[in-house]
């Protein structure tokens, strides 16, 4: 009889314990759910509030705050207008006034531009970025087209290519001691425009490779585009490379 009673008490005790555990688990689940819901709500309410970008300053929803910077003095309308004219003139002086050349190395495009009008948009080939190591001489060349602003310094017709050391090494040939052996005709096309540091805009025998980064740093152009560039760009033309 006692055994039955104690077993019954044990069962009751177990049931109570299980019930308590379930309650704890339930409460924990509810708390997690609430937290998840709150997190989801917070996430849903996070991000960016977008509005159309106004085309003019005067279309801004909030009024423009007064300029407090010391640089902005004097603040009278006449002085500001005069400053505006001075700055506009300074900006105009820095911009190229004549035709200029733009070279996009990443996309292998050469553009001929005047102010912000595109006169010519041509496929070209810029530097490959390859590194050539000469283990014997301990020399190293990086075939990049430089970035920056340059000017056309010299223009050549039917230029001869004076092959540099790397051109021989690349082909596994010995570098000639006689300088006359370095010259090669026809490799650079009809024209070459020299823009400094050993770099040229020139023609190519391999027009099928235009649009790819294949050169040793120079800019290669197709025959017709090279003729246009040569005709439109006098010595002194600015060359912008990016």
């Amino acid at each position: 009889m006692d055994g039955k009673a104690s077993r019954f008490r044990g069962l009751l005790h177990d049931a109570a314990r299980q019930c308590a555990r379930r309650q704890v688990v339930g409460a924990a689940l509810a708390a997690v759910s609430v937290l998840l819901l709150l997190a989801a709500m917070a996430l849903a309410g996070s991000g960016y509030d977008y509005s159309p970008l106004p085309r003019r300053l005067t279309e801004l929803p909030a009024p423009l705050p007064a300029v407090t910077s010391a640089e902005m003095l004097p603040e009278t309308p006449a002085a500001l207008a005069a400053e505006n004219r001075r700055l506009e003139a300074a900006a105009a002086r820095l911009a190229p006034r004549a035709v200029y050349i733009v070279i996009d190395r990443a996309n292998n495009r050469l553009r001929l531009m005047e102010r912000d009008q595109v006169l010519l948009d041509a496929a070209c080939s810029a530097g490959s970025g390859t590194v050539l190591n000469d283990p014997e001489g301990g020399r190293r060349w990086v075939f990049d087209t430089p970035r920056g602003m340059f000017t056309v310094q010299t223009k050549l017709v039917n230029p001869l290519w004076r092959k540099p050391d790397w051109a021989f090494l690349e082909e596994g040939k010995p570098v000639p001691k006689n300088d006359a052996e370095r010259f090669e005709a026809g490799m650079l096309g009809e024209y070459a425009l020299y823009f400094g540091d050993g770099y040229l805009i020139h023609g190519t025998l391999y027009e099928r490779l235009l649009g790819r980064n294949v050169t040793h740093g120079c800019i290669r152009l197709g025959r017709e585009d090279l003729r246009t560039v040569n005709r439109r760009c006098p010595v002194g033309t600015r060359v912008y490379i990016y």
Binding site: G45, S51, T58, L64, V67, P77, D104, T130, M149, G172
Partner: protein, 245 residues
């Protein structure tokens, strides 16, 4: 009794003094625009402030054009995105839509920094572009080994265009550039997933840590221009929303 015409009673008489005063007024009115330049109404505080901001933006452009820094210029008035260097336009791209977004965390909008007329520097392009540099060793002179000629990939193959990219600037601005929707029905799920991925990326802690990430300018451009712009964007580019001239 003579009848006088009522209109004759109201007819003003132009005396010499009145004429002189009128001329003086006209001269003064004519002189006003010359003194104020593009400011209409010298007392208009809004116009004065706008001119001051224009000057600040111009000063920034001149400063950059005098150095070796690339500037990405958003011209909302002309709906153009221009890449400039030393005052020269290198590339210009039409902008189909432009939006400015202010950060909101848990329904609370944060105070966004000013974006108009403000110069932003140190632009970092994401996703990162990977340019692999090939390294070769010159064969020994007289070597019988044939020189391997490899045709390099096109720029599109070497660095494919993402569906959108962004440029993060120091100080809390991100400029997101996406291709304009062409309205093609295919790829709806892909677009939705991509949108979700970008939303989550915008929420990522790094976007609001050092740079703040308080402000986003979202631009759409023609799809055929996106890849070229992504590949060509110089590292460390500056950004400016140009107030209209």
């Amino acid at each position: 009794m003579p009848i006088r015409c009522p209109s004759a009673l109201r007819q003003p008489r132009l005396t010499g003094r009145k004429v002189a005063a009128l001329v003086a007024c006209l001269l003064a009115l004519q002189a006003l625009p010359a003194a104020g330049g593009s400011v209409t109404g010298g007392d208009d505080a809004g116009s004065v402030a706008a001119l001051a901001w224009r000057n600040e933006a111009l000063r920034y452009r001149v400063e950059l054009a005098a150095g070796d820094r690339y500037l990405l210029l958003l011209d909302p008035a002309r709906e153009l995105l221009l890449l400039t260097f030393r005052g020269a336009v290198l590339e210009q791209c039409p902008v189909r839509s432009a939006e400015v977004g202010q950060r909101r965390v848990s329904f609370i909008s944060t105070a966004a920094p000013r974006w108009y007329g403000e110069g932003w520097s140190g632009g970092v392009v994401e996703p990162t572009r990977v340019f692999r540099r090939q390294e070769i060793v010159a064969p020994a002179p007289g070597s019988s080994e044939p020189v391997e000629v490899v045709v390099p990939p096109t720029p599109e193959e070497a660095c494919p265009a993402p569906e959108r990219f962004e440029i993060r600037f120091a100080g809390g601005l991100a400029v997101e550039i996406a291709a304009e929707e062409t309205g093609e029905p295919a790829g709806g799920w892909r677009r939705a997933l991509n949108g979700l991925r970008w939303s989550l990326r915008a929420l990522a802690p790094r976007s609001r840590s050092a740079s703040g990430g308080l402000l986003r300018i979202r631009l759409t451009i023609p799809p055929e221009r996106l890849g070229a712009l992504y590949r060509a964007m110089p590292d460390g580019v500056d950004f400016l929303v140009a107030p209209e001239p």
